[in-house]
Symmetry: C2
Subunit: 366 residues, 2 copies
C-alpha cells in the first residue's frame, strides 16, 4: 500500500482526511501510546482517553479563539438531532419565537423540523431561485426579540456560503457550520451556538461538535428527553453516555494538524480561497460549458457546484475524471451536474489536477 494508490477524493462528506492523520491512526491502531490496547478499546473514563478528549476540546477552543464564554460538546445524532435539540433547548417559552434563514437543503430541513417544535418564523428563503443566492441582513424579516436567528454558514449541496454572519442586533446567532467548520475564522462572540457534524472538515461521521455560549444553557428545561438536553451534556462533560471515542480521537488529530501543520484558521482560510479560485477561474473562463450554480458573490469555498450543458457531457466528465483518479464529483440530484468538495484536507495538488482536467476536457469537447 503506497500513498500513490490513493485518489483525489472530492466527496461532499464523509470526506477526505489528511493523509498524515490517517497514517498516525494506522500506526497506533493496535496499541495507543503504549497503553496495550487500541484507542477504540479503552474506557471513556480512563485517564488515557480523558487526555484525548481534553486535547480535542482545547484544540477547538484554540482554533476558534474562545475562552470560557463557550462550552464545546461532542455529541451524536448529526445535524438531524440538532434540528430538534436547538429549538427544544433555546425557545424560552411555549409562546417564544425563533427566526430561520432558509438558504439551501440543510437549512430548509432545519426549518421544517423546528416548525414541529415551536413557533418558527421564516426570516428569508432562497427557494425561488433554487438556493443560488443569499440575503443581505437588510433582507431579513425578523420579529421583535426572537429567541435566536438560525442560519447555515455554507450549504453543501447548493454551494452558497455566507461571507459574514448575518446581522441581527443582539439576537443570538445559531449556525449550522457543518460544511465549513474549522475552514476559516468565525466571530464566536456573535454566536450563541455553532455546531457541525464532523464528517466534512473535522473528522469521521458520527460526532457532532456543538459550541454553545454558557448563558444559553439556562434555557434548557429539566423535562427535555435526557439525551436532548444541552445543559446535561455540559454538566457531564460530554460523558452523559459513552461518547464516540474513536471519532473524538480523530478530531483531536485533525485539530493538531490544523494548528501545527497548517498554521491555524486564518492560514487555512487563505489556502481554501486559493484552491477555490483555481476552480472558479476555469468555470468563468469556460462559462459556455461550465455553469456555476451559485451567484458570484455567494460562492462557497468548500463546495463548488456547476452544471455542464447536457447530461451526456456530465456523464462523460465524471467517467473521464474517474479514470484520472478524480473521484466523487457527481453533483447532488437536486442541482445535478458536478460538485467538487474541496475541504481543508483536499490538497492544492488535488485541486490543480482537477483544474487541469477541466481545462483539457473543455478543449476536447467544445
Amino acid at each position: 500500500m503506497t500513498t500513490a494508490d490513493r485518489t483525489y477524493n472530492f466527496s461532499a462528506g464523509p470526506a477526505t482526511i489528511p493523509l498524515k492523520v490517517l497514517q498516525q491512526i494506522q500506526q497506533e491502531l493496535l496499541n495507543f501510546k503504549g497503553c496495550g490496547a487500541s484507542i477504540m478499546e479503552i474506557s471513556h473514563r480512563s485517564a488515557t482517553f480523558i487526555e484525548v478528549l481534553d486535547s480535542a476540546r482545547a484544540g477547538i477552543k484554540q482554533l476558534l479563539e474562545i475562552d470560557d464564554s463557550h462550552e464545546v460538546l461532542f455529541l451524536q445524532g448529526g445535524s438531524r438531532l440538532q434540528f430538534s435539540m436547538i429549538p427544544m433547548n433555546l425557545l424560552r417559552s411555549a409562546e417564544d419565537r425563533a427566526a430561520y434563514i432558509v438558504s439551501g437543503t440543510w437549512s430548509q430541513k432545519a426549518y421544517d423540523e423546528a416548525s414541529g417544535a415551536g413557533n418558527i418564523d421564516l426570516a428569508w428563503s432562497g427557494k425561488m431561485s433554487n438556493f443560488n443566492t443569499l440575503p443581505a441582513s437588510s433582507d431579513l424579516s425578523l420579529s421583535d426579540d426572537p429567541a435566536f436567528l438560525y442560519y447555515a454558514s455554507n450549504e453543501t449541496i447548493h454551494g452558497v456560503q455566507f461571507k459574514e454572519p448575518p446581522e441581527a442586533n443582539n439576537t443570538a446567532l445559531v449556525c449550522d457550520a457543518s460544511s465549513d467548520f474549522l475552514s476559516r475564522p468565525i466571530d464566536m462572540q456573535r454566536h450563541g451556538i455553532v455546531y457541525a457534524c464532523a464528517q466534512k472538515n473535522a473528522g469521521p461521521a458520527g460526532v457532532t461538535i456543538v459550541v454553545i455560549r454558557k448563558d444559553l444553557l439556562d434555557r434548557s428545561k429539566a423535562n427535555l428527553p435526557g439525551y436532548l438536553n444541552f445543559k446535561t451534556h455540559v454538566e457531564q462533560n460530554s460523558m452523559f453516555n459513552t461518547p464516540p471515542t474513536f471519532g473524538i480521537y480523530v478530531i483531536d488529530l485533525i485539530c493538531q494538524w490544523l494548528i501545527n501543520d497548517m498554521g491555524g484558521l486564518k492560514q487555512i482560510a487563505e489556502y481554501n480561497l486559493t484552491k477555490a479560485n483555481l476552480i472558479y477561474e476555469i468555470i468563468d473562463q469556460c462559462s459556455d460549458m461550465y455553469r456555476g450554480h451559485a451567484e458570484h458573490e455567494h460562492r462557497s469555498k468548500m463546495n463548488i457546484s456547476f452544471n455542464l450543458t447536457s447530461d451526456e457531457l456530465t456523464a462523460k466528465f465524471l467517467r473521464e475524471a474517474g479514470q484520472q483518479g478524480l473521484n466523487s464529483l457527481k453533483g447532488h440530484r437536486s442541482v445535478g451536474g458536478i460538485r467538487a468538495s474541496i475541504y481543508n484536507a483536499m490538497s492544492q495538488e488535488g485541486v490543480l489536477a482537477l483544474r487541469d482536467f477541466m481545462k483539457s476536457f473543455y478543449t476536447q469537447n467544445s
Copy 2:
C-alpha cells in the same frame, strides 16, 4: 508493534476487539478495497459503503436467525437516546402504560427516563439488595395489556444476567442487550425490540444497533422529533442522516469474525460459559477472599463483579494485576471491588491468565 505489546483488557466498555479485526482495519485503513480512500472518507451513499452496510445488516440477521419479521437499524446516541425513543415510539396513546423491570443501574436509568415520557409501571426492582438478583416471571407486577415489558438482559455493573427472557404472555418484550448482544442466541420471536450500543461485543462506541419487529413501527407517530422516530429510520434504511460509517464497518468485520471464526452464537455462548466458569470457580473456591456480587443462578457470563475483603487488598490486586498485563479490572464505584468483563473478544488465554493470577494472589495473601 507486536501483538505481544497488547495487554489483556477487561474493560467493561468500550471493550476489547478481536485482534484479527483490528489488524484488518489497520491494513486497509488508507485504501479500502482499492477504492483509493479510507472507509472513513467515502460517501455513505457510495456503492462501496452500501455494500458494507448491507453486509453488516445481513451478518446480524444471520447471527440472530431473523428473517423479514424484524428490521435492523444502526443509530447514534447510545442507550441514553433509546431510553427516550422507546417509550416515545411504543406507547400507543397518552393513556397507555408500559412495564419496566429494574435489575441494575442501566434499567434503573431507563425506567427513570421513560417515566418522564409516559405512564410507566415498575414491574419489579432489585434495588433493595443492590441488584444482586433477578425476578422469576411470577414475581412481575404487570397491568392489563401493557404496551411493552422492558428489561436489560445483562447488567454490566452488577453482573446479573437473565438466563431466559421474562415471560409476559403476548406483551412485546423490549430488551437492552447492550452488554450481551451477540454473545449467545436470543429468541427474537418473543422480542419487539432488542437494542445494544456496540461498544461491548459488537464494535466501537458511537453506534446503537436496534432490531425492531416491523408491526411495532405503526406505533411511531409522525409528530415525534425526526431523529427519534424508528419508522423514519426504517424508511430511510438507516440513512436518515449520515450514519456512523466507520463504526458500522467495524461491526461488519466483527459479525464476519463471529460467523467464520467463532462458529456463530451457539458456539460463542459455550465459549463464553467456559470462560466465565473458569473465573467463578476460583471465586467459589476462594470465597473467604473473593465475594461474588451476584447470586449464583443469576451470574453474568459477561461481567464478573466481586469484592475483596478490604479496600487495601483490592488496591493491591489491581496494582499487581496491572503489572502482569491484566488491565481495566477496577469495579464500578456503586459495587466496588473488581469487575472482569469477558466479552466475546476476550480470549480464553486471557481468562486463564486472570485465573492464574487470582489463584496465586489468593495463596500469597490469605
